[in-house]
């Protein structure tokens, strides 16, 4: 009786949030779909008041046949994959390191989490101007100190540089989640493996890594969602030049720089499709770790 009542009460109280979230998602999605089938060039005098011309799938074919489409998909995948690889590998190692009893553990852990609190725009600016600047950057000074020619990171190794910046931002997140997983490992299991004759590396491979698999899955899934929409880091550093134009950035350029809202919307629909393909792949590969 009481449960029945509280259940319907719960539903009632959840309704505003659900309606708001649904509207928040459905309105832009419907508008994007609507615009993607229209010719909408505000600079040429198109406007909603005067009505927009229906152009069918013209925007879709044009976006797909553009020479920048496939490279942008490739860049997106490389960027997401690269960041995932770096954050997961370093995250596991860092988590194991932070699990060791050290003096000032609390402070060290807070310091490790710090980069996650820095806004993407700010961290990208700091990396661009303080670290990677070919004239005044710390890295340039370091290179010169060792007698090497400073690298102009953001033009010569642009994609790798952005991957580095984004990895720096997301490493704390991965480390934090993996650290809690490392801490939940039963120490008797490690001792049992030690008695069973497994040296450190084999203990890591046979006991620690399988124990972490679920946490790694969660890190990969959550990061992928956010990494597919990286924008600020590219905007602030290269502005999409030197092979750093991701699908997200290409859509931004179509809508804002070219002022072609119809074409950009069609790109947006492709982005949704790409995100879903990636999600299906991820669920297939790593999602089974979430069962049981």
């Amino acid at each position: 009786m009481a449960t029945q009542h509280s259940r319907s009460a719960a539903r009632l109280m959840l309704t505003p949030a659900v309606v708001l979230l649904l509207g928040w998602m459905l309105v832009p999605l419907t508008l994007t779909l609507f615009f993607s089938f229209k010719k909408y060039l505000p600079m040429r005098g198109d406007s909603l008041d005067r009505g927009l011309d229906w152009v069918g799938f013209a925007n879709y074919t044009r976006f797909l046949s553009s020479s920048s489409f496939w490279p942008s998909v490739q860049t997106t995948l490389i960027m997401v994959g690269g960041v995932l690889l770096i954050t997961v590998v370093l995250g596991v190692l860092l988590a194991l390191l932070l699990d060791q009893p050290i003096w000032g553990q609390g402070v060290v852990r807070i310091l490790v989490i710090a980069p996650f609190f820095v806004m993407p725009t700010v961290s990208a600016l700091v990396w661009k101007n303080m670290l990677m600047d070919p004239v005044n950057g710390i890295l340039a000074h370091l290179w010169r100190f060792f007698g090497a020619e400073p690298v102009s990171w953001l033009s010569d190794a642009s994609l790798s540089s952005i991957i580095l910046i984004v990895s720096w931002q997301w490493l704390p997140f991965a480390t934090l989640i993996l650290l809690t997983a490392v801490q939940s490992l039963d120490s008797e299991q490690l001792e049992a493996a030690e008695m069973d004759g497994a040296p450190v590396l084999k203990r890591f491979w046979h006991i620690v890594l399988p124990h972490l698999s679920r946490a790694i899955t969660i890190v990969i899934l959550i990061q992928t969602i956010f990494l597919l929409s990286i924008f600020a880091e590219i905007f602030v550093t290269t502005g999409g030049a030197f092979g750093t134009r991701t699908l997200t950035y290409l859509i931004f350029q179509r809508v804002i720089d070219s002022q072609n809202i119809g074409l950009g919307s069609a790109g947006g629909v492709y982005a949704i499709i790409l995100a879903n393909i990636v999600a299906i792949f991820l669920m297939r590969i790593v999602g089974k770790n979430l069962d049981a």
Partner: protein
């Protein structure tokens, strides 16, 4: 072979000395039980033998060879943990095979040994399951299986039955004893339960605060406890210990009498008392009798047929042949 000798072994954690230097010898094929209240250092002692903790001083000698500096994996000892410590992501077969795979044994030999162990432990039907799909008793058997396939010099058990329910515990107790008879390998078993110690051991080591209070066979400890601690710890229910004028009558500081060595009568006896709580087990009944002569109530065992109501007046008579006498330091007299 599995002869283990501890010589002046001690353990300190920082400034706290958990185990003062102690000597102990364990013969090949013996079933030795370390027993003591929680925090007495019995698990630490086991871990020192296993090599999971480093000794602060002294030597661990296994089969005449100084093993103090040898890493745990090379000591030829197998351990069964309290939490079983099974690898949750591996099937039972892989769990049992793990130490053999680590030893790089060939596949046919691994299969032969795993199947052999599964046979002995009734696990053959569960080999492809994960530990999470097994009951507590089955997990326990897998942990034992993982230990026996290595054919170690000695088995170490760290409170292996404390996570099982009472009925299962009695069953596993029998199985482990059977296993010991079959394998004739040295076993060291840690428990806080004196019933487990009494029923399984060839030799019991009673520990308190890291100090060995007494070493001996179960009946030796029962019949001639060396001091009041052992007297109170071994035997269930506990021995009645009395000080004061009654003890002085027997020329001792403390006298002890086990509940089963006190006769109860409603007519005549040495001590007069009033029946308090009675515990009926069917076969026996334990009466807690409040006597005027002593501050604490005495526990008395009587046959299951005897019924006495709460508050009834009774007389108790101790059997003088089974009276234990202790001096001021708690040490046994005579």
């Amino acid at each position: 072979m599995g002869q283990i000798q501890l010589s002046k072994v001690s353990k300190r954690f920082g400034d706290v000395e958990v185990i003062p230097p102690l000597d102990l010898e364990i013969e090949d094929g013996e079933f030795v039980v370390f027993v003591g209240p929680s925090g007495c250092g019995k698990s630490t002692l086991l871990r020192l033998i296993a090599g999971l903790e480093d000794v602060s001083g002294g030597q661990v000698i296994i089969d005449g060879e100084d093993a103090t500096a040898i890493p745990p994996a090379k000591r030829r000892l197998a351990m069964v943990f309290q939490s079983y410590a099974l690898y949750p992501h591996m099937s039972v077969r892989k769990n049992i095979a793990f130490p053999l795979r680590m030893a790089k044994m060939d596949k046919a030999e691994i299969d032969r040994r795993v199947n052999g162990a599964a046979e002995v432990l009734n696990l053959a039907d569960y080999l492809d399951r994960r530990p999470g799909q097994l009951s507590g008793g089955q997990r326990q058997r897998v942990a034992i299986g993982r230990a026996i396939v290595r054919e170690p010099a000695a088995f170490l058990f760290d409170e292996p039955l404390s996570n099982l329910d009472a009925a299962l515990r009695v069953g596993m107790r029998m199985e482990i004893s059977e296993l010991h008879k079959k394998l004739e390998t040295t076993m060291i078993y840690v428990t806080h339960d004196q019933v487990e110690a009494m029923t399984m051991a060839d030799k019991i080591v009673v520990l308190q605060a890291g100090v060995i209070e007494q070493v001996g066979s179960p009946l030796e400890l029962y019949r001639t406890p060396r001091n009041t601690f052992v007297a109170g710890f071994i035997g269930s229910p506990k021995m009645n210990l009395m000080t004061g004028p009654e003890a002085a009558k027997h020329d001792a500081h403390t006298v002890g009498i086990r509940p089963e060595h006190v006769a109860i009568s409603d007519e005549a006896g040495d001590w007069e008392g009033v029946v308090g709580v009675s515990e009926h087990l069917g076969s026996d009944t334990f009466f807690h009798v409040k006597c005027d002569a002593f501050p604490d109530p005495l526990t008395v065992r009587a046959g299951g047929d005897l019924e006495l109501s709460y508050g009834a007046k009774v007389f108790l008579t101790p059997d003088p042949a089974h009276l234990h006498r202790f001096d001021e330091q708690g040490l046994r007299l005579g």
